[in-house]
Amino acid sequence: MNQLTARGKTVDDAIQSALQQLQAAKEDVEVTIIDEGSKGFLRLFGAKPAVVKVVIKTDVMKAAKAYLESVIRHLHPNVQVEITTRKKKHVMFTLSGENLGILIGKRGQTLNALEQLVEQFLHQQKAYHVTVTVDAEGYRLKRRETLEKLAVNAASKALALQKAIPLEPMPASERKIIHAALHKQQDVETDSKGKEPNRYLIIQPSQEKSWQ
């Protein structure tokens, strides 16, 4: 049962009764008020009950979480999955447990793969253009710090040698961190070259652009 129509003395009463019958929480349902009801004259005559229709929302993010849990269960027996950020076009899942290395993978490649699968899952559920982040043991933050350091080092190397410095291929989310880290630095430029999945960044000293 995922929807029903309920009555009550007031709208609130009707909703409460519906939630109880559906065993759902208020934030998981959509309520349509069919009749506000009225108390009637002196509460004696013409009293009408309030009528509401309550439908349980199929929460696609919760479904995505369940899917992620089902994939992870095969890799690691004891992991908690939590939705830690939830916006319209972005959702972040945080994994917790012990020894999550296997779920992170070399340079986060298992995390990236899990993200990709969840994105495909959401796409299949008709939730389009949602970006998914999966994190464990603070890996994403650590990786960000590493990449920012790498960006600064590569930039000074590019300036010192007056040469373009190519970096290792990385996924779009990681390239973005480097682009952003060097965005404010006027004396170097960043650019991406190559085709996915081997797209990589180059960092080079800024060139005078000729504006025609």
Binding site: I102, G105, Q109, T110, A113, Q116, L117, F121, Q124, P197
Partner: protein, 67 residues
């Protein structure tokens, strides 16, 4: 792992063949689902392989055939 990603989950068949140093998975899906499983530029296929690798016994190579 694949079923929630496709339109015809009931048509999924997986063959697994384990050898000493490798495991081969043959994944059969409905014709119209092949694209979903492979993904743009093979993204989904790559993700599936990465997850299989993470779950595999140490030192075993993973092969995933999609047809």
């Amino acid at each position: 792992m694949v079923a929630p990603l496709v339109d015809f989950p009931e048509q999924i068949v997986v063959y697994e063949q384990e050898e000493q140093h490798k495991v081969t998975y043959q994944l059969h899906v409905h014709e119209s689902d092949i694209g979903k499983v492979i993904g743009k530029d093979g993204r989904n296929a790559r993700a599936l392989r990465a997850v299989l690798r993470a779950g595999a016994d140490y030192g075993k190579r993973i092969y995933l055939d999609i047809r």
